[in-house]
């Protein structure tokens, strides 16, 4: 029997496994995906949001706790547990050396990433390189790993104590367990149910899944039905607007469309529906998925002109291109008359001052609803381009309610040996919205806590081990 069982194979699961092993526990990690798809959504990540009170290795200037907390408060609109959020923030300041000790490399900020080098530490090669490093370290430390191991149920006694995990008829016992098997974004049925119908349309049927195809939410549903305390709204998620031609799963970062703030966004009726110039793109990026989801047909069209070319990250698919607005409207399958009218109305409302995409500039619209408050320039320089966008779900926020020890609760009572980390509990900190690198910060902080606590619950701790050694060496 293993001391600690880890269910899941992404960043949080690996952090938990490594920490538990470091305490001396024997560890088995069960990843539901095959080896080549291992790592869940972590393989699509890129960075870690880090608090720091002085410039540190790859981070410039300072990003103090209070500013980090305010940023989180703003994006979540208050849907966050301050105690757990501050714990995550503080942990983000000190985890990098531990990450490095397990082979993770950070890269010095270069080229386009400079303006996020203050708040975020970038993984060299991205999240898959990080996941590879953790798996290598885990194997080296003697952690047992099984792929294609999708746990479908747990045996839990009446006191909320973990007894065993089940894979079909197989029963895997352990002294303690960490759940880190992600959310339910790959489960189309559940998404459909969570989002429901708007104007007769099943909203989620038009969603693309930007992350892993393996997060079916099986254990999340099991825990909910088993009476675990839950937190979060099932319709809340990291939901961004991505290229409508993106693959159904695993589109990852490259399907993003970065030009929304440079032009206008129209819906299926060729109408604008939100201020494209509200704030900098990294800050507003995560709101557009939800905005598009609430539009008819769950589709939006970002329209730009030639002035924008070379000012945004190149998209993976070529844009629809036309020499006149009328033709572009036709190519998009929109009513060309309404399309041209909307753009001309916008163009006429533009009050162009000094355009500067690097600041909240003074180019704005007047007398237009909704307004475009910055970077408003007429769309008048042919050729014109458009990108069709759909909501892309990266990960969901519905999860298990935890305390600062990452313990799973039943009716307000903590389990003695069942812990949870990562996407399965991120909703405690992140009730809605998103800001870059926070998912990895939560996963790393709570993965490490859950691993340590699980080892403790199984009778292992560094303290205890040291004492045992002292006894053996005759020092005590």
């Amino acid at each position: 029997m293993f001391d600690v069982l880890i269910i899941g194979g992404g960043n949080a699961a690996l952090c938990a496994a490594l920490m538990a092993r470091e305490q001396g526990a024997s560890v088995l990690l069960l990843e539901s995906a095959p080896r080549e798809w291992r790592g869940g959504n972590s393989q699509h990540t890129r960075n870690l949001r880090c608090m720091h009170d002085a410039p540190q290795d790859v981070l410039i200037e300072t990003y103090p706790e209070e500013e980090y907390w305010q940023d989180l408060l703003k994006v979540t609109g208050g849907l966050t547990d301050e105690k757990l959020a501050r714990l995550t923030i503080r942990a983000s300041a000190t985890c990098r050396d531990w990450m490095r000790s397990h082979g993770v490399h950070f890269q010095a900020p270069i080229s386009g990433t400079l303006h996020v080098a203050r708040t975020n530490a970038f993984f060299m090669g991205g999240g898959k390189a990080l996941v590879n490093a953790y798996y290598r370290s885990a194997e080296k430390l003697g952690i047992s790993i099984r792929y294609n191991a999708a746990v479908d149920a747990l045996d839990i006694d009446n006191d909320g104590r973990f007894l065993a995990a089940r894979i079909g008829t197989e029963r895997i016992e352990a002294r303690s367990c960490v759940l880190a098997s992600g959310g339910f974004e790959s489960n189309r049925e559940w998404l459909r149910e969570a989002w429901g119908q708007i104007n007769g349309e099943w909203v989620a049927d038009n969603f693309l899944i930007r992350g892993t195809r393996f997060n079916m939410g099986v254990l999340l549903k099991f825990m909910r039905d088993a009476g675990a305390d839950m937190i979060g709204d099932p319709s809340q998620s990291h939901c961004v607007a991505i290229d409508a031609r993106a693959p159904l799963y695993d589109g990852g970062i490259c399907t993003r469309i970065d030009c929304v703030s440079l032009g206008v966004m129209l819906n299926k009726n060729a109408q604008r529906f939100y201020d494209e110039g509200e704030d900098f793109w990294p800050k507003r990026y995560a709101i557009w998925g939800r905005l598009v989801a609430l539009q008819p047909g769950q589709i939006g069209y970002s329209v730009i002109d030639s002035k924008a070319i070379g000012r945004f990250m190149p998209p993976v698919f070529p844009g629809t291109k036309a020499n006149t607005l009328h033709e572009l409207g036709l190519l998009l399958g929109l009513d060309p008359v309404a399309f041209v009218h909307t753009i001309e109305e916008y163009n006429a409302a533009c009050r162009v001052g000094t355009f500067d995409h690097g600041i909240l500039d003074d180019c704005h619209t007047e007398g237009l609803t909704p307004a475009k408050t910055h970077w408003a320039q007429p769309i008048d320089q042919a050729p014109f381009y458009a990108y069709a966008l759909r909501p892309g779900i990266t990960f969901t926020y519905l999860g298990l309610k935890v305390d600062e020890r990452a313990t799973v609760h039943f009716d307000g009572k903590p389990s003695a040996n069942l812990f949870v980390a990562g996407e399965m509990m991120a909703g405690n900190v992140l009730g809605k919205g998103y800001t870059a690198g926070v998912g990895m910060a939560i996963g790393t902080a709570f993965g490490r806590i859950a691993g340590t606590e699980a080892a403790n619950a199984a009778g292992f701790s560094r303290q205890k081990k040291n004492n045992q050694e002292k006894v053996r060496n005759g020092d005590a």
Binding site: H105, Q107, A129, N132, P318
Partner: protein
């Protein structure tokens, strides 16, 4: 990818392997997670689309280190099937073929195993035949390392000088064609120093973090860099040994046989040992290489060149050890035959990668000093 994109690329006159690099770079350019690994990615990020000259430049900038393949969220089994090292390797061969001089010999790259075999067999036969003609038989009473008693110095200098100069000319013309497809502008002293440093230290086999590149799996290793260093510096030492010996002969400093503790012999021995360790290591790594790295079809070219270098050092060192015996003539003929084969195939084999890669690194050193035309923001 889109059929529309395919049509556009076809209109741009790209071959299938160049199209693949264009497709892959378009995906990489919208991801950019790999920018810390090597120069390919920052160079890519300065472009929005990829024409023939961009593709050839980026392909030669790629060191085939494999890091970006293991880190790639879009590698197989993902439907995007991104494999930068493979796409780049395929185009590199295309580059060598396209820019080769004389153009007709460019096709030798395509059948490099055969080329090497024929060159080696031919050169060996030539030297053995020369011995027969000049001395009638291969085995003699010991000549005590007096090579020139068999092949007069001037004959050797003429033969090897001609072949070597031709090789340098052919490679020079090829790399000049490569450079001129899209010249990045004049090279500053800083750019030249940086590019030289990158070549001499193999900076981009360091992985961006100093732990090395990938070989068999997703773990990093510095051995490819080390064995490459042994090979390169071993080759240079052997070259220096030959050059010094030639100078000694012309200026009458020393007469053959040079004593063991003379400069040409010491340089040759050191170089020979380097060329023993380096190619052996590279061959070992090559056999254990992850099958998705690079272009499998080019393995005969890689291994052919490695083995030829290895045979050069083995025959050279053997010759040194037995130069005082009756076997010297035979050993000398074999060694010279191998070296001649090496020289003959320099411009039409794996050796070319060093020349083209150095040129690409210089292009990058120049380009990175120029302001970018794009203002794309990341994240």
């Amino acid at each position: 990818m889109e059929t529309l994109e395919g049509l556009i690329n076809e209109a741009r006159g790209l071959a299938a392997n160049e199209l693949e690099v264009s497709r892959v770079m378009t995906i990489c350019n919208s991801c950019r997670y790999c920018e810390g690994f090597c120069a390919v990615f920052p160079a890519m990020a300065r472009r929005l689309e990829f024409g023939k000259s961009d593709i050839h430049y980026l392909a030669n900038l790629c060191h085939n280190c494999g890091a970006c393949l293991h880190a790639c969220q879009y590698a197989l089994p993902h439907e995007f099937a991104v494999n930068v090292p493979k796409a780049m390797a395929t185009v590199r061969l295309q580059t060598y073929t396209d820019y080769a001089w004389p153009a007709a010999l460019g096709t030798l790259y395509q059948r490099n195993g055969l080329t090497l075999a024929l060159a080696t067999a031919g050169a060996l036969s030539l030297f053995l035949a020369l011995v027969m003609i000049m001395r009638g038989t291969l085995l003699f009473t010991p000549l005590h390392g007096n090579f020139y008693a068999i092949f007069p110095h001037n004959t050797l200098a003429l033969m090897f000088g001609t072949v070597f100069l031709f090789a340098m000319l052919a490679l020079g013309i090829g790399v000049r064609r490569f450079w001129r497809t899209e010249s990045p502008g004049p090279a500053s002293a800083g750019a030249m120093a940086e590019a030289s440093g990158n070549v001499l230290q193999l900076t981009y086999l360091g992985g961006g973090h100093g732990e090395g590149c990938n070989n068999a799996d997703d773990a990093f290793t510095l051995w490819r860099r080390r064995f490459h260093h042994f090979t390169f510096y071993g080759f240079m030492l052997c070259f220096a040994a030959t050059s010094v010996a030639t100078l000694y002969h012309f200026f009458g400093v020393l007469e053959v046989p040079y004593p063991f503790f003379s400069l040409p012999v010491l340089l040759g021995v050191a170089g020979g040992i380097g060329l023993l360790i380096g190619p052996t290591g590279l061959l070992w790594l090559n056999l254990r290489r992850h099958p998705m790295h690079g272009d499998q079809a080019q393995k005969p070219m890689d291994r052919g060149f490695i083995v030829l270098l290895l045979v050069t050092s083995v025959t050279g060192l053997t010759l040194l050890l037995w130069r005082d015996t009756g076997a010297m003539t035979l050993l000398l003929a074999v060694h010279l035959g191998v070296v001649m084969a090496l020289f003959l195939t320099l411009p039409y084999g794996k050796f070319a990668h060093g020349i083209y890669r150095s040129a690409a690194l210089l292009k990058w050193a120049i380009e990175k000093r120029q302001p970018t035309k794009l203002r794309t923001a990341d994240e």
